[in-house]
Subunit: 207 residues, 3 copies
């Protein structure tokens, strides 16, 4: 069980590092810059989670395997993309999986501190979204989180909510977590494939 959680968080770091390398690779950066952005994407969300919760030492200082996994994934992405263009969907899939893993992991850590549901959902969404926002800001792109019709925050909030709900219904934590992750990935894919959207909100200024 704890092993499953550990394996999933390593997997989250790995897919996030891939998404970071793929985003940074579209800009003309030297390979060290690509590694830097990939690492920041991979550890950004969890770092913010640990700092906001005051969990010291933060996860990648306590366990440097996360840094190793992140660097290996980024180098792997660089090598693979040498030999062929990555499919356009690769970035979106890696990003959706990273969002799914980190949102549920952020929610679970916060839950273990006996926080109320609202705080658990919010910390899950922050943990999930922060890595991708950092990646896009460092790469000079508009964060996916704030792009129209991406359902990015929606997916994170809905997934964390479904996770908590399933636990309330008596599901074991691990299965509830997998359900929450699946919900996040499915909502993101739905937004991308079928262009499902939330209503736009627009204020026109007086002038």
């Amino acid at each position: 069980m704890d092993r499953l959680l550990y394996a999933l968080s390593l997997l989250g770091v790995i897919v996030s590092a891939c998404s970071g390398a793929l985003t940074a690779g579209r800009r003309k950066l030297d390979w060290l810059g690509v590694l830097a952005i990939a690492t920041a994407t991979a550890i950004g969300g969890g770092t913010l989670r640990d700092v906001l919760l005051g969990r010291y030492p933060i996860f990648w200082i306590r366990d440097p395997n996360y840094i190793v996994a992140s660097l290996a994934a980024a180098v792997g992405t660089l090598l693979v993309t040498r030999f062929g263009k990555p499919p356009r969907m690769a970035l979106l899939i890696a990003d959706a999986l990273g969002l799914a893993f980190f949102t549920i992991s952020g929610a679970q850590v916060t839950e273990s501190l006996h926080s109320p549901a609202l705080v658990v959902v919010l910390m899950g969404a922050i943990t999930g979204a922060a890595g991708g926002v950092l990646r896009d800001v460092l790469s000079g792109e508009t964060p996916l989180l704030f792009r129209e019709g991406e359902l990015y925050g929606t997916a994170a909030i809905a997934g964390a909510g479904i996770y908590l709900l399933a636990e309330q219904l008596g599901w074991p934590t691990s299965r509830a977590g997998l359900l929450g992750m699946a919900a996040i990935a499915i909502i993101r894919f739905a937004a991308i494939l079928w262009r499902i959207r939330l209503p736009i909100f627009h204020i026109a200024d007086e002038d």
Copy 2:
């Protein structure tokens, strides 16, 4: 007295959430994106204050009322602006009040840790300005803090200084705090209404 401080900090969160919703509403975001930016604006400054001071659990994890107040204010702003354009001044007034509340609250918390005056003023200004900077960065606008002639940082620093001075002169903390807040709001309004400015500093490069 502690009650007054609590009421004021809730009020600070509320006006900041309104300013966040009004800023994000000018961009074409879905309503969840608007809520996200409003919440980030409302809790950003206080979160940075608590993290820099190492005060755990941070304020909105200790007391989720802040999240509830922030979401309610953001939803209220969305509803009100459905039925009519907000006056152009609404954003600037909400922003000025948020700056006033958070600067003094940041200064007061830091003071309670027996820090020297310089640190108290700096932490006040950081707490006050951070929410608005986060709001503008996430909305893709130049932060008010760095826009010419806004006297944004000046207002925060002057207000925190006046607060400390009034305390030195023997005023009770609550009245000194209200004086500091009034000073901040007045300086901001003066900058907006009468276009008072500080001298511009410009370096021309050799070339």
Copy 3:
């Protein structure tokens, strides 16, 4: 020895404040905005280091001399540039020295917590680069860290690595630290003067 470290970290704050004032001075900001960006540049990296490591109180709250040094350096820069254009190299030299000081200081603090080498190098590079990134983001410029051919991160990582290596070879900490700083400054100067570069990595999208 501890004295040398203290003197060097004050020097790091001072040169970083100068680089912040010179960068902010190119934008049309009032003088208080210039002071704010200079201070953020000077204390940004060390603040991030202390927050990530959970070292409370953070350095400039524990010792306000850092704030005094930073403000004095920024005011000095403003005064000097009143009387003549700064040479174009001034900014790049101040920035390189700041990167050198903060990278090694970040590495040394992390080392004292018995972290593995990979974490020491990463925290050194984060500490070194964060101030400059904050400076450039607040000034609305592309961070030097991500500009093509600057070898910015490379210099930080190489310098931290050389520092650790020299220690392994039995050098005393102070001399190993000076060697690491020299390596960082030399790599940055080499990148600027002789336009030495790392290979660019570029992914072309399918479409």
